[in-house]
């Protein structure tokens, strides 16, 4: 890895603008966790198999371990740390109310993946939408229930 092979990346994370210089092969996951100190996004496998690093990139749910930091130059990223995002707040409350978390390691990725699901989604749609996010604790039952509950609170679909 040549030391010269670095890129300047300007990215808005949770509403805050950051500019960092990172090696070109740095993943968005490493950018968030190591460079910006946002460790709420989890590193469960590094190869796109578990979904624990799901974040929103310009509003789309993506796996931060499969995206390179230079690719998000000029983009907006939302992570679990975003305190004022209303969708995330509804999901947080619903996950707590339904006990839809246990060890909690998949929870940030689940919440971010769920944030992109349409309000009023059926259980089958929710399950399909979360199929890329593994959970070993909950059997998914209460997660599906929490996502439905948060969807109901949201009111009509946007």
């Amino acid at each position: 890895m040549s030391r010269a092979a670095t890129c300047r990346v300007s990215v808005t994370v949770n509403g805050r603008a950051h500019t960092v210089r990172v090696p070109a092969a740095t993943t968005l996951l490493a950018l968030l966790r190591a460079h910006l100190g946002l460790t709420g996004t989890k590193d469960g496998c590094g190869v796109g198999e578990c979904g624990a690093c799901t974040v929103l990139l310009d509003g789309e749910a993506i796996l931060a371990c499969l995206v390179l930091a230079p690719e998000v130059d000029g983009c907006a990223v939302t992570t679990i740390e975003h305190a004022r995002d209303a969708r995330l707040q509804r999901l947080r409350r619903a996950f707590a109310d339904e006990a839809a978390l246990q060890c909690g390691f998949c929870t940030p990725g689940m919440i971010l993946a769920a944030a992109r699901l349409p309000a009023g989604a059926t259980p089958a749609t929710i399950r399909a939408g979360l199929a890329g996010n593994l959970c070993r604790c909950t059997g998914y039952t209460k997660i599906v229930r929490a996502v439905r509950r948060a969807g109901r609170r949201r009111g009509p679909a946007r």
């Binding site: 989890k42 190869v47 909690g104």
Partner: protein
């Protein structure tokens, strides 16, 4: 407070990203990074090791080998048979040959790849059936002097009555061989941690584990550290399921922190996590079960073979547990149950939710279901006829108490299941419903002194309870807050449970064996009740001194007898039982099985938190579903092939049972806190045989080997078609 679904105490931290798991720990100033050197084979002699190429990597500062270990260099939960760093012999996937210390994580990893290994590669022992052949390679040659075959980790036989006679006279005998496979725990957070030397010469470890004090005891022996110099601070634990009961990277971190005298950090990626910790024991179970013509069980002859892999870990206890529970919750007057756990060069096997009971319950329940069919008796009737009743004897000798709930689980599960009919056959799809019951011992059995200590301080501001449990996700912290709040008559918001730091939280045992609600729960309750009485003696809460009132209580679970005791009073101090009904659909064209619905009726004793109980059932059912139908862990020449989670084929939200119905029977439990039982494991255990019974009901095929992968089921369906099975005529 008891019986209320209090919101999890960790919900806020875990839904905002604030919870700190070991991988989230920042590298302290001056921190060095370590990476493990592992062998490309499962069995070899290590002739020599060349650190020079690693030291040439920029950033690498040192390579630590076995010569740098000051203690015994051996550790293990039961036998100290595992080296911290290999001295001369590679035995399996989890072995570490050297540690590379570097200024950055990438440099440490690069250095680890470059260490030169001079290995004399040997053919690994991979088949447990041949582990005790006279010419089998010996996994631990230092055990040759022990008198029995050196590859035997544990071996035991329990005999009651005259089995062969009774089987000879039985009206019906069913005989079969059952097979189960390795399973990866696949907790979502891979191992990571930091170790830090203190100014006082001590070492502090920041990791996630199931039994912190035991980690430190093993570290003290293996590394030659005074135990009192070691401290462990638990981080948020990203799942465990038994896979964090054994030491993984704890000793490597402590070794490097001592050698370098600066903080060190280690992070395992998923592939290393899969190599580095144990797996569920594969079992081969040879089973003969006989009944008279009324369907009363008369005899069972069971032979168990468990693959312990390259290190003993808790294999002897898993085997004892499997033997003790081999005949399930049934009275069987004549039994011969023999079992053996053997060393191989496969990944070592260890604790995993159910601890040996899952495998034998799959076999026994399938046998009971086959027997019911052979006798033309309904499965629930046959079970009711043979359940152990209050004060009756389990097949292995001890008497069973507080077990009225057992039959209640059967009635409740079957009644609930009947509320929804199965779909009618359509196209190639056939549908079936299956039933299974199970019992699981709670806590550490067989004479182990299972105990926990809790300390509480009550001030005008509220109460703080120190108790060294592990919140692995099951909700221990929340449940203990509820127990303390109840005992102290305080609002739960005024109670804090401090479990993370061994410097302040007294030992509460291992977070395993469904023991945490039961044993630490009792310690918390009794410490809090003591404090409450002391406060009353002072004249009530208004008269509390500024420093508050403190109390400490050590709860010892009722004593138990070892397996093999001539006249055991009890092998375990408590049990939980459950009955499960599974509805499945089978695509007879492809062999694919879909779970439609699972009803799980369990006797949880008094339920402390209904939502957390449901959460345990949901998770246990889906883990059982994965075990029954899809989870794989292929091993070639002793090394896992699955480098990642995808290879393990865990159930996703799409495959997971879409409907799981929990029915909680609140039967009597005299010894549990407020009458509660531990239920972490029982939730999973009957799921597998209920699913295989449902597959039989749908197709007429008994699957005696799990996982029931589509290709296996399809082959069995094809064979049944050729043999003229009633498949096409059935519903």
């Amino acid at each position: 407070m008891i019986g209320r679904s209090l919101t999890r105490t960790d919900a806020a931290a875990k839904t905002t990203g604030a919870a700190i798991y070991p991988q989230d720990l920042p590298a302290p100033p001056g921190c060095l990074h370590i990476a493990a050197v592992r062998a490309p084979v499962a069995r070899a002699r290590l002739r020599s090791l060349d650190a020079t190429p690693a030291l040439a990597v920029p950033g690498v500062v040192r390579v630590l080998t076995a010569q740098d270990v000051r203690g015994t260099n051996r550790f293990g939960l039961a036998d100290d048979d595992q080296p911290v760093l290999v001295t001369d012999r590679v035995r399996g996937a989890s072995d570490v040959l050297a540690l590379v210390v570097a200024r950055t994580e990438p440099a440490a990893r690069e250095g680890a790849r470059r260490v030169g290994l001079d290995l004399s590669i040997e053919v690994p022992l991979v088949d447990p059936e041949h582990a005790c052949d006279p010419d089998a390679p010996v996994v631990h040659p230092e055990r040759v002097a022990s008198g029995r075959h050196p590859n035997i980790v544990a071996e035991q036989t329990i005999v009651h009555g005259a089995v062969d006679d009774a089987l000879g006279r039985a009206a019906t005998v069913v005989e079969a061989d059952y097979r189960t496979t390795f399973v990866e725990h696949a907790f979502l957070a891979p191992e990571a941690g930091v170790a830090e030397p203190g100014a006082d010469g001590g070492l502090t470890l920041f990791v996630a584990t199931q039994w912190p004090q035991e980690d430190l005891r093993q570290a003290a022996r293996a590394l030659g550290e005074p135990l009192e110099a070691l401290r462990l601070v638990q981080q948020t634990i990203g799942g465990a399921f038994g896979g964090r009961e054994d030491v993984s990277l704890q000793l490597l971190l402590l070794l490097a922190a001592r050698a370098m005298n600066v903080p060190v950090r280690m992070v395992w990626d998923r592939a290393e996590s899969i190599r580095g910790h144990g797996k569920r024991h594969p079992f081969r179970i040879r089973h003969a079960l006989g009944a008279d013509r009324h369907g009363r069980l008369v005899a069972a002859r069971v032979d168990l073979l468990a693959d312990a892999g390259c290190y003993a870990s808790t294999s002897a206890a898993v085997l004892a547990n499997a033997i003790a529970q081999a005949c399930g919750p049934y009275a069987v007057p004549n039994v011969r149950i023999s079992g053996r756990a053997v060393y191989t060069n496969n990944p070592y096997t260890c604790a995993f939710r159910g601890f040996g009971v899952n495998q034998v319950t799959f076999a026994m329940e399938q046998q009971v279901n086959k027997l019911a069919r052979a006798l033309g008796i309904a499965p629930e009737v046959l079970r009711r006829r043979n359940f152990v009743h209050e004060g009756g004897h389990l097949a292995t000798g001890p008497r069973l108490f507080d077990c009225a709930g057992l039959e209640a689980t059967l009635s409740a599960a079957t009644a609930r299941a009947r509320r929804r009919p199965l779909p009618r056959r359509r196209g190639d799809w056939r549908y079936g419903r299956g039933l299974a019951s199970a019992l699981k011992n709670i806590g550490c059995s067989f004479g182990f002194d299972d105990h926990a200590t809790a300390r509480v301080t009550v001030t005008k501001d509220g109460a703080t309870v120190w108790v060294g449990v592990a919140e692995v996700g099951q909700g221990a912290e929340t449940v203990l807050v509820q127990i303390a709040a109840e005992a102290l008559a305080l609002a739960p918001q005024r109670v804090r449970v401090e479990w993370r730091d061994t410097a302040t939280a007294p030992e509460a045992g291992s977070a395993s064996a469904s023991h945490q609600t039961f044993v630490p729960g009792n310690a918390v309750r009794l410490a809090c009740e003591q404090a409450r009485r002391a406060i009353a003696l002072l004249g009530g809460g208004q008269r509390l001194p500024r420093e508050g009132v403190s109390a400490t209580y050590t709860f010892h679970a009722p004593s138990t007898d070892p397996l093999g005791h001539a006249a055991p009073t009890r092998h375990s101090y408590a049990y939980a039982w459950s009955t499960c009904v599974a509805d499945v659909g089978v695509d007879t064209a492809t062999g694919q099985v879909r779970i439609l619905r699972v009803v799980n009726a369990l006797d949880a004793g008094r339920v402390i938190n209904p939502k957390l109980l449901e959460g345990q059932v949901d998770g246990g059912v889906v883990m059982g579903q994965g075990y029954a139908l899809q989870e794989r862990f292929p091993v070639r020449a002793g090394l896992p092939i699955a480098g990642g989670l995808a290879g393990c084929n865990l159930p996703t939200a799409v495959e997971a049972a879409p409907l799981i119905e929990t029915v909680a029977i609140e039967g009597t439990e005299s010894a549990g806190p407020y009458g509660a039982r531990g239920i972490g494991e029982i939730t999973m255990i009957p799921v597998v045989p209920a699913i295989t019974a449902a597959i039989h009901a749908a197709t007429g095929v008994w699957a005696d080997e799990i996982p029931v992968l589509p290709e296996r089921l399809l082959a069995a369906l094809d064979a049944a078609r050729v043999a003229g099975s009633p498949l096409d005529r059935r519903r």
